[in-house]
Symmetry: C2
Subunit: 188 residues, 2 copies
């Protein structure tokens, strides 16, 4: 039986250094607020707003450190709220991402950067070996109690510094009555 801790990813943004500079000022350094489960990553103090036409969502947390490409991760509920069609994609794959406007205190940018992150498992090389999983593998995870849900189409992501965790977005967590901190059961 393979158990996995469940984490819920609320909407957030990863910024490239050039985009961070455009939004917050030249050579800006993010201020880490709180470490998150994946090694070296943190919720930053900084927040931005997302805009599409007349629709706006404030208080989008920046997750650091900076990355090669700016990426916004939203739920389908939030995509609807912004009036946008946003594709389901594996985090890091912004090839098909939807264009929107990101507003910071010092500037704004238009970027094809919005995705709905495909639910995924973070696994280290050791985890992958131990559970006989490989990067890109699709597995199923059983979660929840009163609103129990079996999530199919969970993609396994393997990297040396990853920490064993299932990441769900807020729609997925709410549908299953999860808050994060629970444990799921991986079915291969």
């Amino acid at each position: 039986m393979i158990t996995i801790p469940i984490e819920v990813s609320a909407r957030h943004i990863h910024l490239s250094q050039p985009d961070l500079d455009l939004l917050f000022g030249f050579d800006y350094k993010l201020k880490p607020l709180k470490n998150i489960s994946q090694t070296g990553q943190y919720a930053a103090e900084e927040k931005v707003a997302l805009v599409n036409g007349n629709q706006k969502i404030d208080n989008i947390r920046v997750v650091g450190p900076t990355r090669p490409e700016t990426q916004v991760e939203l739920s389908l509920t939030e995509a609807r709220r912004l009036g946008l069609e946003i594709p389901l994609a594996v985090s890091g794959n912004v090839a098909q991402a939807t264009k929107l406007t990101v507003i910071g205190p010092q500037g704004q940018i238009d970027r094809h950067c919005a995705i709905i992150a495909q639910r995924h498992i973070h696994a280290s090389l050791e985890d992958a070996k131990k559970y006989q999983l490989h990067d890109g593998q699709i597995v199923t995870v059983e979660c929840g109690n009163q609103r129990a849900v079996v999530f199919r189409q969970v993609v396994v992501r393997v990297r040396a510094d990853f920490v064993w965790n299932l990441h769900l977005d807020t729609d997925e967590a709410n549908a299953a009555g999860l808050q994060g901190g629970e444990t799921g059961l991986v079915i291969i």
Copy 2:
């Protein structure tokens, strides 16, 4: 193989006649806008707002006809937006429902009326007989493609005038990438 049409229930309110009168005026009659799948039920032209403290959600559709008890059905996402803890309950069971303020054009009411509807199947007596299901039975339904989800804890509701349908709320539909109109597979 038991297939079932999937419907998505967005937030809505059922009103008692006394509460309808308080919100819209004495001896008020709802104006049917569009029939919905369950026999005799309709989305009405009327809308109300829901308030908890400083938080407000506008444009809550009234579903007619009036019922013995006022009941608001929200998703967990919307409950969070209102800052409320709202219990999961079978529709019609408002014993544990959460108090909020409902505002109409002619008045407002405070009622213990808000629930998150437990995902459910509507079955007629003939459906129940055909598929060997009984009222209150808990079944599992497999749904979706790219975001395939297996929903456990689906309650079967049997009534003579019910129409064979799976009802999911917007969190559940979004988590599974469903818009309504798709078909699920019931697993008993």
